[in-house]
């Protein structure tokens, strides 16, 4: 065997994480098996029908049933949808940004100055590096055309002619896969000039990162796409007015775009009905850590956390649940008793004091040390701080060193107050949200699991260390 053959034995098949029958009413992951990612397979699943619908170019070979509007009047399949109608449908759906912030997608699209005469850009944020998150990787690998179709529809709605999908550099096979899918879409006339014979043209390209967590922040991503260091920009101006190359730009997460074709085909109300009010649709949760079956689970918004845990096989080895980080490493940790009462949607998790974020659910069982867990996260934020703002650059390293000495039983009595104080002085004082993302886990861990930190500090004092004032 040559080296390539050796390595191919260890590549993920997607069976464990994506092609299981434990999704609930899936839309994005529905019907996937790993080998049906190509254009013809996507079309067989109803793919590109939403695009045909908005352009008024029904597929003659694939007769869709006659549709009627709210008043029962037949809809002319050749009429298409206007930009306003597409945006109104997305607004009605209650779709909120799947990358972490949960901002209403239709509203974001309406911010785009559609009448601006110059170049405008559409960007897909596939820089999936928030620890715990691995959902976009499976979407792009196993269903890339759903993202392409969603982006074309978004571009149509906002009058945009050029787009880029910026893909996490570590998942290079996904970048290659997406490029192959783009080529298929171009050949079929779904991308390029005069799409399906309409007046609408859209060019879409793939770009990649190369190892910088910060580039998941939208303005850092834009800097990177311009060929620079990924250092976030001060906002305002927001990308909608000053984005890529200084032009109006809309940026959405991969999963957000992937939700759009279903919404256009089935209507905003149907999508909203899948979830719960203000939290429309399905959401993909990446469950990692101490569960029997880590993986991606697509379930309706508002599903109880206990159900999601059950889908993932429950806590590993029959142990007890201790804590859950519900929305990627930056979201505040939640003790078992709190999360077990929550449903998985933006509002329920926010009300309980954390964030749904990217939907990355990191599960920790009762054998876990919270100090050790926080130590690893603090190292991460310190390592990935871009260095632009002093509070974040210095503060993240400081917090990591303090937690490190606590873990090594060299902590001081004053360290917990010090940690809170440093976190306070980072939060809200930086250009981007990485500072907040570094501070929030520290504060939440101290809030919910303070005795664990105190025990380690006391162990030092008991061992004869010098008490520090």
């Amino acid at each position: 065997m040559n080296a390539t053959q050796v390595l191919s034995q260890f590549q993920a098949t997607g069976v464990q994480t994506c092609f299981h029958d434990r999704h609930v009413e899936p839309q994005i992951y529905a019907g996937l098996n790993g080998s049906n990612w190509r254009l013809k397979d996507y079309e067989a699943r109803g793919g590109y029908q939403a695009l045909r619908k908005i352009l008024g170019k029904p597929d003659s070979a694939n007769d869709a049933p006659a549709q009627t509007d709210a008043e029962g009047k037949a809809i002319d399949p050749n009429a298409g949808l206007t930009q306003d109608q597409v945006i109104a449908t997305v607004k009605e759906s209650g779709l909120r940004g799947r990358g972490g912030a949960g901002f209403p997608t239709g509203l974001k699209w309406s911010f785009m100055p559609r009448q601006f005469p110059g170049q405008k850009y559409l960007v897909c944020n596939s820089d999936e590096g928030e620890p715990g998150t691995c959902k976009d990787r499976d979407i792009l690998m196993y269903n890339p055309h759903i993202v392409i179709e969603g982006m074309i529809i978004a571009a149509y709605a906002m009058g945009i002619s050029v787009g880029y999908n910026y893909i996490h550099g570590e998942i290079f096979q996904v970048y290659d896969r997406f490029e192959a899918a783009l080529e298929e879409a171009r050949e079929a006339g779904y991308l390029g000039d005069a799409i399906l014979g309409s007046k609408f043209s859209f060019q879409l390209h793939a770009a990649h990162g190369f190892g910088a967590y910060i580039c998941g922040e939208e303005t850092a991503l834009l800097e990177s796409l311009e060929g620079k260091k990924g250092q976030p920009r001060f906002k305002p101006p927001f990308p909608a007015s000053f984005g890529l190359y200084g032009k109006p730009t809309t940026i959405n997460n991969t999963e957000t775009f992937a939700a759009v074709p279903w919404i256009i085909r089935h209507g905003g109300a149907a999508y909203l009905a899948c979830g719960k009010p203000n939290n429309g649709g399905t959401k993909i949760f990446s469950v990692s850590g101490d569960v029997e079956r880590p993986g991606n689970y697509e379930i309706p918004m508002g599903t109880p956390f206990s159900k999601l845990l059950e889908l993932a096989g429950g806590v590993r080895k029959g142990r007890q649940l201790k804590a859950v980080i519900p929305g990627g490493s930056s979201s505040p940790v939640m003790p078992a008793s709190v999360i077990m009462e929550c449903t998985m949607d933006y509002d329920s998790i926010a009300k309980a004091g954390s964030m749904l974020g990217s939907g990355a659910v990191i599960v920790m069982d009762d054998s876990r040390s919270m100090v050790e867990s926080l130590l690893r996260l603090s190292y991460f934020y310190s390592h990935e701080s871009c260095g632009q703002c002093t509070p974040c650059r210095e503060g993240t390293g400081w917090m990591w060193r303090v937690i490190d000495r606590i873990q090594n039983q060299e902590g001081r009595e004053s360290d917990l107050d010090l940690l809170n104080s440093v976190a306070d002085n980072i939060q809200g004082r930086t250009i981007c949200a990485l500072g907040d993302a570094a501070a929030m886990p520290v504060r939440a861990m101290l809030k919910h699991f303070r005795p664990e930190f105190e025990t380690l500090i006391r162990a030092r004092t008991a061992a004869g260390g010098t008490a520090h004032v």
Binding site: N2, A3, F10, A12, P131, G132, Q173, G227, G289
Partner: protein, 166 residues
């Protein structure tokens, strides 16, 4: 000097961007050079700067900002093991330690035969596949138990010695 085949790949990347925004292709150009030459040398940065029409220092800023660019030569196989929290909970650290033991080096080092460089990495974005490892920037290896790590290292060693003897 940039070879013809590398230049062809560069051209393809540059074509994605507006004519006056050639710099946008720098990330891709650097990764192509690294794939072909194993690392990004100062000479390569110079060539890319010239090709894209940007200052050499701006290329160097990019090389040094992003974690995956090798600023020094590395072993034939660069192994990046994720140890971030989701992986730490599923033996990511143990996988790294197992490789340290197996290869007889500490993380950050390269084996004496020049075959393997071992590095700890931040989130690779494959958290449900833990333990995960990225080989030479482009191939993700999933569910890497100690047994599989042994198979991978032994397999790559065998593949290289066959190549040398061929």
């Amino acid at each position: 000097m940039i070879s013809y085949s590398i230049r062809t790949r560069f051209d393809r990347e540059v074509a994605k961007y507006p004519a006056e925004q050639r710099q946008s292709a720098v990330m891709a150009c650097l990764s192509i050079v690294q794939q072909e030459q194993g690392f990004v040398s100062i000479e390569s940065e110079h060539d890319i700067a010239e090709y894209l029409g940007m200052p050499q220092i701006a290329v160097h800023e990019v090389t040094t900002f992003y974690n995956m660019y090798n600023q020094q030569p590395v072993g034939r196989f660069k192994l990046n093991v994720c140890t971030n929290l989701p992986c730490q909970l599923r033996d990511g650290q143990k996988a790294l330690h197992h490789l340290e033991h197996k290869l007889g080096i500490a993380m950050g080092e390269t084996t004496a035969d020049g075959l393997f460089t071992l590095q700890q990495s931040e989130c690779l974005g494959a958290c449900a596949d833990s333990p995960v490892m990225l080989v030479n920037d482009r191939t993700m290896c999933s569910f890497m138990s100690n047994e599989k790590l042994d198979q991978l290292v032994d397999g790559l060693r065998a593949a290289e010695s066959t190549k040398e003897n061929a």
